[in-house]
């Protein structure tokens, strides 16, 4: 007869076995991170942007400052007029120059002007392989129209992709794609350096203030209060004015200001963590302040540190773009997303793509980092695993 209440047979060693396979902390974090589609998408976007920013410029045939004034202001996609000559198209630029385009969308040349017939409100341009033909640009109506040699309008049009400059050219005829890659490079560099510097300064400062407490904490946090009461933008601008222009100035300015938020977050975390029993246990064991701070407090505060840092990256990127936009950031001709936006405002109505593209990249970078930060926060907390 079977015994319904017989003891389950378990050898001594088996009883204490844990069934799950062991993972290191890093692997665990990665597995949880990869489960989140938004976080993964953010990470892929960040990596792609990084690859574009680092490798892209060396693959591009153009440099960030090479101007081709004759081909300025051509968008990535445009509507061209079919020319009388077969396989040739004419594109009228916003400032009423005529650019000859082949059927693949390659920009060939700007047509040389023959005569300005201002009484008839038209301009004649030479065209054809040996400049033997003529076309007229009629600007009497709101929308300029092309006329052939006999004066009949060239009505047929075709939409073409710009093959010479994939994302078009700006108002000085520089390749926007190349400039975007340089701009992203600067943005990401500013972001990573500023975030790293702020993380180190803020974490140590906040950690020390929180752990030592008392008078040290009071004095250290008053310094933070003073720094944070000065409007951040004003402060960054002042630092920028004092320091030499360029990239280094921006990084120094951002690094010396943004750590205050990090210091506050870390201090708050440390204040609550240091009363936890595991920290008391470390003290009774005899671990020193350094060890307690570095192995107990900061790793446990890492979740909020990373979240704060990834929230800080977009705001640092935005601040760099903003400073470049108002003209105290990256000096021309170097490309930055901010200076590109600024350049584009002049021709906003006729060439909106010049503003849209850098703004899109700024948005992409900020979104990507926000998603990554979100995913990191969730995956760094092992308590959520259950």
């Amino acid at each position: 007869m079977s015994q319904p209440w017989a003891r389950a047979a378990a050898a001594g060693a088996d009883r204490e076995r844990i069934a799950a396979t062991p993972h290191s902390f890093g692997v665990d974090v990665w597995l949880r991170f990869a489960k989140k589609p938004t976080a993964l998408a953010g990470l892929i976007a960040v990596l792609l942007l990084l690859a574009c920013a680092l490798i892209g410029p060396s693959l591009s045939p153009y440099s960030y400052d090479k101007q081709t004034l004759s081909l300025a202001g051509v968008p990535p996609v445009f509507t061209a007029v079919v020319a009388p000559e077969a396989g040739r198209y004419f594109y009228i630029t916003p400032n009423q120059k005529i650019i000859e385009v082949d059927d693949q969308g390659r920009l060939l040349r700007q047509l040389p002007m023959a005569q300005d017939l201002f009484m008839e409100k038209r301009v004649s341009y030479r065209c054809g392989p040996q400049d033997e033909g003529l076309v007229y640009l009629d600007y009497s109506a709101a929308k300029p129209a092309l006329l052939d040699e006999a004066g009949n309008p060239l009505a047929a049009t075709r939409v073409l992709w710009n093959r010479t400059y994939l994302l078009g050219t700006d108002h000085l005829g520089r390749d926007i794609l190349t400039r975007l890659m340089y701009g992203a490079q600067i943005s990401l560099m500013v972001a990573f350096i500023a975030a790293a510097v702020n993380m180190v300064i803020g974490t140590l400062y906040g950690g020390i203030a929180g752990y030592l407490g008392g008078r040290v904490d009071a004095i250290m946090m008053r310094v933070v209060d003073i720094i944070s009461t000065i409007p951040l933008t004003l402060y960054v601008i002042l630092i920028k004015v004092c320091l030499a222009g360029g990239l280094v100035g921006i990084i120094v300015a951002l690094s010396s200001v943004y750590w205050v938020d990090m210091a506050r977050v870390v201090r708050g975390q440390v204040l609550s963590l240091k009363q936890q029993e595991f920290v008391l246990a470390a003290r009774t064991i005899g671990s020193g302040t350094r060890r307690i701070l570095l192995t107990h407090l900061i790793p446990n505060a890492m979740g909020s540190i990373l979240v704060t840092a990834t929230m800080l990256i977009p705001s640092a990127i935005f601040m760099e773009a903003f400073m470049s936009f108002i003209g105290i950031g990256i000096a021309p001709p170097m490309a930055s997303l901010g200076t590109m936006c600024n350049d584009a405002t002049e021709a906003l109505r006729s060439s909106p793509y010049q503003l849209f593209l850098p703004a899109l990249i700024i948005c992409l970078i900020m979104f990507a980092f926000n998603f990554v930060g979100d995913g990191l926060r969730d995956s760094l907390d092992p308590q959520l695993k259950r």
Partner: protein, 321 residues
């Protein structure tokens, strides 16, 4: 006892200032004295908030005692700086109440148990460290494969074993157990207490064993101290306190132990404890227990009773005994 006791506490007092209330203080521990001999166990009991844990934390210098002396092995450690204290910490370790909160969730069991070795530079080499960690793990009833695990993968009892391994790896002489079993379920409590007893026999440890429950203390302790509102109200050899509890508070505590068989309820006719603890900021004058004592007299309200010996190592602080 002719030799110096391992741990001797004299008039230990721990007050905490109260913020925003002028110069008022919380009287967490008020003039507690006791001694623990080598290889012996003192059980310290009392209800929540009576100052047992604070007492333990003042001894091991998590808190800076307001006044009084703590002597470890005859050496006064009360006013040593943390740096001077460091070598002495090897002799004195602590097991914490909450096995969930007392282990850092970001460290593996190997790192947790190895921390004391690293803090004191006790291991001769990496291999020696690893060896000692693994041996300790097996001693507390875990296996080698647990070394790479994180605390959240363990049950409460297993975590407490990790806590014990961490406290014992430096081979201390005194282990302060701050309610090591109250967070565990009953079936595990006995395992842990038995393990602590085995270690005591094997290593000659002394324990300061804190609990809020007299029944488990009885099993492990040589002597028992009862605390009420920061003061020691009764202190005697373990069996004596169960057979002849003298202080009305001790009697109340004993009466509150549930009895498995109601027909054997020997103390149920005695009164249990009623009423709440008075505020430790303004402790009642006289005997601190008089607000809840069924036998209180006028004398109890005015004069604080001293702890006095009534024979056989049994001391009690009550006017009526």
């Amino acid at each position: 006892m002719s030799e110096t006791p391992l741990l001797q506490i004299e008039n230990l007092t721990q007050h905490f200032p109260v913020r925003g209330r002028g110069h008022k203080v919380v009287h967490a521990v008020d003039g507690v004295s006791f001694a623990i001999g080598r290889g012996r166990t003192l059980g310290l009991v009392g209800e929540s908030g009576c100052g047992k844990s604070t007492c333990a934390r003042s001894i091991i210098r998590i808190y800076e005692p307001t006044s009084g002396h703590v002597r470890l092995d005859g050496q006064d450690i009360t006013r040593l700086s943390q740096k001077q204290l460091l070598p002495l910490r090897r002799k004195m370790q602590m097991i914490f109440q909450d096995p969930y909160a007392s282990l850092n969730g970001r460290m593996t069991v190997r790192a947790l148990i190895g921390e004391p070795l690293r803090a004191h530079g006790a291991a001769e080499s990496r291999r020696d460290e690893e060896d000692r960690i693994l041996r300790m793990l097996e001693k507390v009833g875990l296996t080698r494969e647990h070394a790479g695990r994180y605390p959240h993968e363990f049950s409460g009892g297993q975590r407490q074993r990790v806590g014990i391994a961490r406290a014992l790896i430096l081979r201390p002489e005194l282990v302060i157990c701050d309610e090591p079993i109250s967070a565990l379920d009953v079936s595990i409590q006995a395992q842990i207490v038995n393990m602590l007893r085995d270690f005591q026999q094997e290593l000659g440890l002394s324990y300061l064993f804190i609990a809020h429950d007299l029944s488990m203390v009885r099993y492990i302790s040589d002597e028992v101290g009862v605390m009420y509102m920061g003061q020691l109200v009764e202190h005697s050899p373990a069996e004596d306190i169960y057979a002849h509890p003298l202080h009305p508070y001790t009697q109340g505590l004993l009466a509150s132990i549930p009895v498995p068989d109601p027909s054997l309820a020997r103390l149920q006719d005695e009164e249990g404890l009623s009423g709440d603890l008075p505020s430790p900021i303004d402790p009642p004058p006289g005997c601190r227990f008089h607000t809840r004592c069924p036998h209180a007299t006028g004398c109890c309200r005015e004069e604080a009773p001293a702890l006095r010996n009534v024979g056989g190592g049994h001391a009690v602080a009550c006017h009526l005994v």
